[in-house]
């Protein structure tokens, strides 16, 4: 067999490639069932506008007017969309991907639904039937990158089966899986948090990775503001790893990775965002303040609606539990149990020992006689993998545990912790595989060969099945401990946000009488309604009456997303439509997600 000739390095690349491909195909295979959230609708619009700048740039170059594209009015015309909210790495990729890969029906009846003028038929590589898929493709690629990076990182410590399990358990988390294929930033920033962490880890013994850490940090700053926190966690680990210096009353050498992050990070961040160029200081301040003073949107947690920082001690205590309880109720329980085993294994590990008994040990053990320098600051010490995973996993959760921090995004606010949690689970799986190997008879060579892979598959199975079960309503899904969809509802855990869950109802709306098409869309943003129409999933003559009470009163049909704070809207339906009887309810496992009312329905 040819495969027998593959060396270990090639086998690993083969597995890496297979994991990437599996991730891309799984996500592409199911993303079409998931509707468009509020934010995603805005990023579709912004991404297409940003593309508009590139289109005009091309035109200006052709006319010898390159400088025109860099004038303040032209930059602002395109790049002020969704500013100062978020930097533009992902939105730009979404816009470019759309332009490159959609199947153009752009000059047909949907021509007027684009945020920029469609000048003619687009010549594209028409990979995707839906425009929305073309927008989403870069997010899917980022998810695949994350899965492969987790595998590569885990391979530094673990044998192949638990490393592959860690990679799979990264993807097979219902809430991460919800965010992975959509054109937003929460899954991509999880990828970047892992990439920066990975580069930093490697940089402790390799200077070129120090430069890479700086570049990756700059890109992360351009993906989402979570990146601001990354250096804090890394500094925490670095000080712990070099605690010998502190004990000796020596200040640890600032490593190349931190220097590179400090220098390259801001340069890349500034260079990537044209909106900043015209007024760098003022606009950077606007961006930072936007997030430091972010509103507390409504969010349900343990039956309470949270929309302000808590003021009483009891409420502060409840609020502080949110990220931990949300993790405990959303990550598949087997993954959590494996992570607990992984933590136990790391606690028992002594300096200089490998992370897993059957794994590689070159990653953690200091080279004999190695001397440290700012280029290789981890050359002479154990790199403290336990502390590294601890800060990377608990750090994002701890930030969200501060009661004054808004929690409106639920798990997505600390999604950056999840790949590291999966890595802990992989370490747990590795430890248990070595226990299992010890139980198998020495004579059963075949059994000993396949048992690790079988065990890795077994522990991934519940996560994959739960993730499949959750789709496309990952935000409503809760794990075995919580009792699934119904258990989450009974516990008063948040059921959804962003108004994405309407997609399965579009067929009903499309079949509705023309007289009922004055539609109140509630939390479905107009950009999302437009995209459903551009995708051919919503009839073009279905109206959008706008947002708020007046819009609802003008409508003939309307929907209402279940979120605790939206109850007041249901009261408006009762009053305006004269009934408490919905026309239909979209539910998952008996739990209502979206209620539809129709005026005059029997």
């Amino acid at each position: 067999m040819k495969i027998a000739k593959l060396d270990a390095r090639r086998i690993d690349w083969l597995i890496t490639f297979a994991l990437a491909l599996a991730t891309v195909f799984w996500l592409l295979g199911v993303e079409g069932r998931q509707g468009f959230g509020r934010d995603e609708g805005q990023y579709f619009r912004a991404g297409e506008r940003y593309w508009g700048w590139f289109e005009e740039l091309g035109s200006n170059i052709a006319h010898g007017e390159l400088r025109r594209s860099f004038t303040a009015p032209v930059i602002d015309r395109y790049w002020s969309d969704n500013a100062p909210d978020h930097p533009v790495v992902m939105k730009t990729l979404y816009g470019l991907s759309w332009r490159a890969f959609h199947r153009c029906h752009c000059t047909g009846p949907t021509r007027g639904l684009h945020p920029i003028a469609v000048k003619g038929r687009h010549i594209t590589l028409p990979l995707f039937a839906r425009e929305s898929t073309a927008f989403r493709f870069p997010a899917i690629i980022f998810a695949a990158l994350l899965v492969t990076m987790v595998y590569r990182f885990a391979r530094g410590w673990l044998s192949r089966p638990p490393a592959a399990a860690a990679a799979m358990l990264t993807l097979a988390q219902p809430h991460y899986f919800f965010h992975a294929p959509i054109a937003c930033f929460d899954a991509p920033i999880a990828t970047m948090a892992f990439a920066v962490g990975f580069a930093y880890w490697k940089s402790l013994r390799s200077p070129r990775w120090g430069i890479a850490a700086g570049i990756l940090f700059g890109i992360a700053l351009g993906v989402k503001h979570n990146a601001w926190l990354m250096p804090i966690f890394l500094v925490g680990h670095y000080l712990w790893m070099r605690r010998g210096d502190l004990r000796a009353r020596r200040f640890p050498r600032p490593p190349l990775a931190f220097v590179a992050m400090l220098v390259l990070g801001p340069i890349i961040f500034f260079a990537h965002w044209p909106w900043l160029w015209n007024s760098p200081v003022t606009r950077t301040r606007m961006y930072i303040n936007r997030h430091l003073q972010h509103e507390h949107y409504n969010f349900e947690y343990l039956g309470l609606n949270w929309n302000n920082p808590p003021t009483t001690t009891a409420r502060k205590l409840i609020r502080a539990t949110a990220p931990f309880v949300q993790t405990g109720f959303t990550v598949p329980v087997t993954t959590l149990a494996l992570a607990a085993v992984g933590v136990a294994a790391l606690i028992r590990r002594r300096r200089g020992q490998p992370v897993a008994p059957d794994g590689l040990d070159e990653e953690t053990i200091a080279a004999p006689g190695a001397s440290p320098s700012w280029l290789r600051p981890g050359a002479d010490v154990d790199r403290a993998p336990g502390a590294f995973l601890l800060v990377q996993t608990l750090g994002p959760l701890a930030v969200l545990a501060v009661p004054s921090t808004p929690i409106f995004g639920g798990v997505k606010h600390f999604l950056t912790a999840m790949p590291y949690l999966a890595l802990l689970a992989g370490i747990g799986a590795g430890r248990l595989i070595s226990v299992l190997a010890g139980l198998l008879p020495a004579a059963g060579a075949r059994l000993r060969q396949f048992a690790p892979a079988a065990f890795a598959a077994l522990v991934c199975l519940p996560a994959v099945v739960e993730t499949r079960r959750s789709h496309p309503d990952g935000l409503s899904h809760y794990n075995l401990l919580a009792g699934g969809f119904a258990g989450g509802a009974s516990l008063g855990m948040n059921r959804q946000f962003w108004g994405y869950a309407v997609l399965p109802m579009l067929d009903v709306i499309n079949r509705d009488e023309p007289a009922n098409r004055a539609m109140y869309w509630h939390d479905v943003i107009h950009d999302a309604v437009n995209m459903y129409k551009r995708d051919g999933r919503l009839a073009l003559d279905v109206g959008d009456m706008g947002f708020g009470e007046d819009a609802l009163r003008r409508s003939q049909s309307g929907i209402l997303f279940y979120e605790k704070h939206w109850a007041v809207y249901e009261g408006w339906f009762w009053e305006s439509y004269g009934t408490t009887k919905p026309f239909m309810v979209r539910e998952r496992e008996g739990v209502p997600l979206v209620t539809m009312y129709r005026r005059g329905a029997p």
């Binding site: 109850a567 408490t580 309810v585 496992e589």
Partner: protein
Amino acid sequence: METPSPSRLTRRAWLAALAAVSLLALVETASAIVAPYRAPTDADWRAAAAAVRAGFRPGDLIVAAPAWADSILRVHLGDLIPVEVAGRMDDERFERVWEISQRGAKSEAGREGTVAEERRFGALTVRRIQRPAVGVRYDFVARWGDALVSRRGPGTASVDCPRVADHFECPGVAHTSVRRQIVEVDTRLRMALLAPPASDGALVIEYLGVPLGRTLVVATGLHNVWSRKEAQGPVDLRVFVGGVEAGTFTTRNEDGWALHRFDTSARVGQIAPVRFEITSPSPRARQFALAAEARFEDR
């Protein structure tokens, strides 16, 4: 560095972990596969609704347990749940409660009654619960048209707020009108009088001829989640029965829908004026909501 061989206890702990994780993986997988089939189907709901319809009498209450299934219940039986019942002040006036339950849940409304009838329809259980009901002599929200509304400034004479179409409007004062409407208090809907406090002085709502029972029950709360987010000011309510102050209480954002009971047994059967005076030291964005009933009995 050589790894020391683990102790017997440690080996057993790892073995236990291996067994536990393996078992957990199987249980979690099985649960994920089976759980969707435990949810009630549309056919279950239709059958349960038909059973309720067959036995329903006007004045019955129909509830879902857990309460989060309420909107699905209303798809099937909403025509039997008028706005006044869906937005009821509390459950105490209902003698017969139909509870459609799933996953072993029990409703708040059915808690104090006895099960008179119980039938299963797939994943749903229909129970008819018989409970001791209180008689309502006077519903202040339903009789909102009887009210006289006025505004009394500090040290000034009372100014009448005449009725204009579906509400009372206080002249010259922005955002001070009293109306009967569905309010949202603590993210639940109630039928109530919306009576925002005036920027100075008191908003007065008076019912001149109220037939009193043994108890006067007053429910209060602050309407609208956005207003509760925006402001924190308390609202004070003074209640007068027959010209005598029966009590004063304060409503804050976190109080939810609060029920207050006044013993009127000394005046049972009498007709008396009942007056509500609403004030707030900080009335911005305070959408005060009020409901009240004069009841024969209190349970």
